[in-house]
C-alpha cells in the first residue's frame, strides 16, 4: 500500500494584471512562497512538476532562479488541467517511493490575451488545396461551427439544458452572479466586483448564453505546492503537522470514447469517472464535502459539473442551484474563491490555485471568506482535449 501524501506548503500569487512581473518572477514568487509555507528548502525537494501552457518558461529556468539541485523536472502540459497534472506527477513520485518531498508549480501570463483558440483566421488561399485531417480547402472556424471556448462551453451547458430542462440564459447568469458575489471576499482574486443579474445579462455577449462576465478572466498568476510523504511528515514539527493537509484522493483521467465526443468535447464522462474514483480512494462521498472548487471556465460549465461531481442527483443540477446549495451559505458551497469567472484563470496556475483555496479553508486560514469548520473539500479542473483532475483534501487530525 502506497503511503499517504500531504500538502505541507501551498501558495498562490495575487491573480490579475502583473505588468512588472514576467512568468519567472511569478513562478519564483509562488515556489518560494510554498517552500516558506512548508518550512523546507529546495534542498529537501526530490522532484519538480512544472506547468506553463504557453510554453514561455520551463521548470529548469525556475530552478536557475531559485535552486539548481539537479533533481528531475517534469514539464507537463494538459491545457487547463496542467497545474493539477504537475501536482499529480509529484504525488505519484512520492507514492512510488522515489522521493519523500515534491514541488509542483503552475504559471501563466495571460493578461489581455483575448480568445485563446479561434482568435485568428487565415485568409483563403489563392487556389483550393486540401489540408489537414478533414481535407479542408479553407479555414472551417465559423464555417463549420465554432472553435472559440466560450462557444464550445456554451454548447456543453445548452446540451445539459436540452436533456434535462430548466436551464436558461438567466439561470446561467445567476451562477455567474453567485461567483462574482463570492469574489468580493477574496483579496487574491483578479476581480472583486459584485455584479447584479442585470449587469451580467446586459454585458457584452460573447457566445450565447455566455456574456463577458460569465467567461473566465484571462490574467497573470502562479501557484505552487510542496507535498510530502506520511513518514516524512511524522519527522517534522508539530506546527508543520497541524497545518498539513491530507491529499485523500489524487485522480487524473482523460475522455473515454463516446459517440459525438470528437464533434463536441464531452467534459462530463471523464469528470464523472474522476469523481467516482476520487470518492472511492478517499472513502468519502459528495455529502461529506464542506466546500468545492470546480472548473467554472464559463458559467455554462459550472452547471454541468454539479451533476458530474455527484453534488446533486443525475439531471438535478438546475434544482440544486435553485435551492441555494452552492452559495457560500448553502449546504455545498461552490467556488467561494469567486471561481475562474472572477478570481481569474491563468491556465497552468488554476489546477494548483483551486487546491490552495480548499487547503486554506481546511487550515482555518480563510479570513473573511472562511467556511467555518471545513474538514473535507474537493478541487476539480478540466483541460479540453481532454483531461480532468480531481483532488479531495482533508484537514489534519494533528
Amino acid at each position: 500500500m502506497a503511503e499517504d501524501v500531504w500538502i505541507l506548503g501551498i501558495t498562490m500569487t495575487k491573480f490579475g494584471k502583473r505588468p512588472n512581473d514576467d512568468a519567472l518572477d511569478l513562478a519564483s514568487e509562488a515556489a518560494l512562497g510554498a517552500l516558506a509555507d512548508a518550512e523546507v528548502s529546495m534542498r529537501d525537494v526530490g522532484i519538480l512538476g512544472f506547468g506553463n501552457v504557453m510554453r514561455v518558461v520551463e521548470g529548469q529556468q525556475l530552478q536557475k532562479q531559485i535552486g539548481q539541485t539537479g533533481i528531475p523536472v517534469f514539464n507537463v502540459s494538459n491545457a487547463c488541467a496542467t497545474g493539477a497534472t504537475a501536482l499529480r506527477a509529484a504525488v505519484m513520485a512520492i507514492k512510488a517511493g522515489e522521493t519523500d518531498c515534491g514541488l509542483a508549480v503552475g504559471v501563466e501570463k495571460l493578461s489581455g490575451a483575448g480568445l485563446l483558440t479561434g482568435g485568428s483566421r487565415s485568409s483563403d488561399a489563392d487556389t483550393w488545396t486540401r489540408k489537414g485531417r478533414y481535407g479542408a480547402v479553407a479555414s472551417v472556424d465559423g464555417r463549420i461551427g465554432t472553435e472559440i471556448m466560450p462557444g464550445v462551453f456554451a454548447q456543453i451547458g445548452q446540451e445539459y439544458g436540452h436533456r434535462y430542462g430548466g436551464a436558461s440564459f438567466e439561470l446561467f447568469a445567476r451562477i455567474s452572479e453567485k461567483n462574482h458575489a463570492h469574489s468580493t471576499l477574496n483579496p487574491m482574486a483578479a476581480y472583486q466586483k459584485q455584479m447584479s443579474l442585470e449587469e451580467i445579462m446586459g454585458d457584452v455577449m460573447i457566445a450565447y448564453p455566455n456574456t463577458r462576465p460569465m467567461c473566465s478572466a484571462n490574467c497573470d498568476g502562479a501557484a505552487a505546492a510542496v507535498v510530502v510523504s506520511d513518514s516524512k511528515l511524522k519527522t517534522l514539527s508539530l506546527s508543520q503537522q497541524r497545518r498539513a493537509v491530507k491529499i485523500s484522493a489524487s485522480i487524473l483521467t482523460s475522455d473515454p470514447y463516446e459517440e459525438g465526443c470528437q464533434v463536441l468535447p464531452n467534459v462530463n464522462t471523464l469528470t464523472k469517472n474522476a469523481a467516482a474514483m476520487a470518492y472511492e480512494q478517499a472513502g468519502v462521498g459528495p455529502e461529506d464535502l464542506d466546500l468545492v472548487e470546480l472548473h467554472d471556465c464559463f458559467a455554462t460549465a459550472e452547471l454541468v459539473h454539479y451533476d458530474n461531481l455527484g453534488l446533486c442527483e443525475e439531471g438535478g443540477a438546475v434544482d440544486f442551484f435553485e435551492s441555494g446549495a452552492t452559495w457560500r451559505t448553502g449546504t455545498t458551497p461552490v467556488n467561494v474563491s469567486g471561481g475562474l469567472e472572477s478570481k481569474g484563470h491563468p491556465i497552468a496556475a488554476t489546477g494548483i490555485a483551486n487546491i490552495w483555496e480548499v487547503a486554506t479553508h481546511l487550515r482555518g486560514e480563510g479570513g473573511a471568506r472562511q467556511i467555518e469548520g471545513a474538514r473535507v473539500g474537493l478541487a476539480h479542473v478540466i483541460g479540453l482535449g481532454s483531461s480532468c483532475g480531481v483532488h479531495i483534501l482533508e484537514r489534519s487530525a494533528a
Partner: protein, 134 residues
Amino acid sequence: MTEQISLVDYLVLGDEPHLVAHECTACGARFFDRRNACAECSGTEFRSADIPTEGELRTFTIVAFAAPGIPVPFVAGVVDCGGTSVRANVVDVEPDAEHVQLGMKVKLKTFPIGTDTAGTEAIGFAFAPLSREG
C-alpha cells in the same frame, strides 16, 4: 459548368449532397477525419457511411464575438443525424434565442463560399430549419 470542390473531404457534392463518415467495420463508431485506427475499439478497417441529411439540433450557441473575418452573429451547433453527431452552423434562421430552438428539426444545405483563381467554386454546408411555420 463551374468546377466545384467541397469545403471538407466528408462533404459529398452532386445531385444529392450529403456527409459521409468513416465507419469502423468492427464496432460501427463513426469519424469524419482521416483515421489511423478506431478510438472506440482500435480496429483499423473502415467503410464509408452516408449520414442522413435531416436531423435534430442537439445544442447550439450564438457566436457574437469571433476572429476578424468571421461574420457574426452566427449559430453554431451540433445536429443529431440519425444517431451520428455532426458539427455545423445553423442558417436561414434569425440568430437569436427566440428563433433557434433546441430540438428543432433541420436539414442539410450546401452553398458556395468562394471561388479561387482557377475559377473553382468551394462549396460549404450548414443546416437549415426543416419547416418554417411558427
